[in-house]
């Protein structure tokens, strides 16, 4: 349905068009969204735990985690609130390297990312491994600020950005695909921006 009188849309430059998923617009800033107050997690209180169901598999403190091999990822990110930001530069620990340090293969097909503020989000395990995702520690070469999820946030850039949990403190492998915080509140279980999987009713 064409909207009467709507012409001057802010079309992206044609050379970037193919990088913007349907229904998204290009944002130069870096908007902040969250369901509650920003937790200020001190690195001395920080930890990261791998769990299978309720059972902890391995836990790292801040120094131990920072000693893991670090990688860089520069990616376009897509927020379900319709903004897309190009070329966001992150540095952190690939999920592959976290699993390697724990000496395990992914035990189940599904994962819940868990956060200090009680947030959670579900991601299929295959979307976290083989170089697809990291626990990011730096943004633009500097520690991630608390409003952007610092000290550490999950980065799963090929899914809508609510999957990239802020203030992440662990991954829990689950037998079933268990909905997380927003997935229990009407948002899509998978969240592929290229298929516009925003809400639970989207195919």
């Amino acid at each position: 349905m064409v909207t009467r009188g709507f012409f001057s849309g802010r079309r992206p430059p044609s050379d970037t068009d193919a990088r913007i998923p349907p229904g998204q617009y290009l944002e130069q800033g870096f908007p902040v969204l969250s369901a509650g107050p920003t937790p200020r997690v001190r690195t001395e209180d920080w930890s990261f735990t791998l769990k299978q169901g309720p059972k902890p598999l391995k836990k790292w403190n801040w120094a131990e985690f920072n000693a893991l091999p670090q990688s860089k990822m520069t990616r376009d990110i897509h927020c379900v609130t319709a903004w897309t930001k190009f070329n966001t530069p992150w540095q952190g620990v690939m999920i592959d390297d976290i699993l390697a340090d724990a000496g395990i293969e992914p035990p189940t097909a599904y994962t819940l990312a868990l956060s200090f503020d009680g947030y959670s989000t579900n991601v299929p395990t295959k979307d976290l491994v083989t170089g697809k995702a990291m626990v990011a520690l730096l943004y633009e070469g500097k520690p991630i600020t608390s409003d952007h999820g610092g000290p550490a946030r999950l980065l799963v850039p090929h899914l809508y950005f609510w999957k990239s949990a802020k203030w992440v403190n662990g991954l829990q492998f689950t037998e079933r695909d268990e909905p997380g915080f927003w997935e229990l509140r009407g948002y899509h279980m998978y969240g592929d921006p290229w298929r516009e999987q925003r809400y639970s009713s989207d195919p």
Binding site: T3, G5, F7, G9, G29, P37, P39, G186, Y199
Partner: protein, 248 residues
């Protein structure tokens, strides 16, 4: 939660039935969806505009009206000068136009009667919109849950829904309005003239018969960060604080 009867498209045409300027920068638009729906106070809709060449722009807008009112949904849209969608509404949209809309959406920043109270609402600028839906829902349901609304605006003339809010405040039915103006002196004895802070939050909480069961904070990111920190500074635990931030 959305429960769409698939395979129908979640998008539907809605007709603009009324337009009313609220403040110099905020105008309310009433939309009558072709498939009417009930919504929860605090939910939003997505709006999609389509250019003749197929280019689309979509944005989310909170619903200001309560479902009890009927007659479609009211969206109070702030004009953002560098915006893409809000200038269209302010400059082009007219009564009778059809706009594509999807919703209601959102399952977190909502208040239902079963959530109980007291509740503390904190809004900055057009962040008051979803809070207004909660206030209206409570009023139209004759619900007695104590509510304090702290509403920060730059100046008196930018207090959206001002007359309606003051009218509700005057009823003394458990709804308490606290205005704070950041660029003008306070106009009412109980109001403030500064940015929100922990002391203001502590005083707002004292207007409630007991500590808030839930607190809802909505506005720009900077406002929400400051207000949420102020609530925590006033002794409210993080758990009951729900926030909704405009992206920027």
């Amino acid at each position: 939660m959305t429960a769409e009867p698939s395979p129908q498209s979640p998008w539907q045409a809605a007709t603009i039935t009324r337009i009313e300027k609220r403040t110099p920068r905020v105008t309310s638009f009433w939309f009558q969806p072709s498939r009417p729906f009930a919504h929860l106070a605090g939910q939003h809709v997505d709006i999609r505009l389509t250019a003749p060449d197929g280019y689309q722009a979509r944005r989310s807008y909170s619903i200001a009206s309560a479902s009890e009112t009927g007659g479609g949904v009211e969206l109070a849209i702030e004009r953002l000068d560098d915006g893409e969608v809000s200038p269209f509404f302010h400059d082009v949209a007219a009564v009778g136009d059809e706009i594509e809309l999807r919703g209601p959406l959102g399952g977190h920043f909502i208040w239902e009667e079963s959530d109980g109270g007291p509740i503390l609402l904190v809004g900055g600028g057009s962040g008051v919109v979803p809070l207004m839906a909660m206030v209206r829902h409570r009023t139209l349901r004759n619900n007695a849950v104590p509510v304090a609304l702290v509403f920060s605006a730059r100046v008196w003339d930018e207090v959206i829904f001002r007359d309606e809010l003051i009218g509700l405040d005057d009823r003394r039915d458990g709804f308490d309005l606290v205005l704070t103006l950041t660029r003008e002196p306070a106009r009412r004895p109980s109001d403030y003239s500064r940015r929100v802070d922990a002391r203001m939050m502590a005083q707002a909480i004292k207007r409630l018969p007991k500590a808030p069961r839930l607190a809802y904070v909505c506005g720009s990111n900077a406002f929400v960060s400051a207000a949420a920190d102020a609530l925590i500074g006033a002794g409210v635990p993080a758990g009951p604080i729900r926030t909704e931030r405009y992206g920027v």
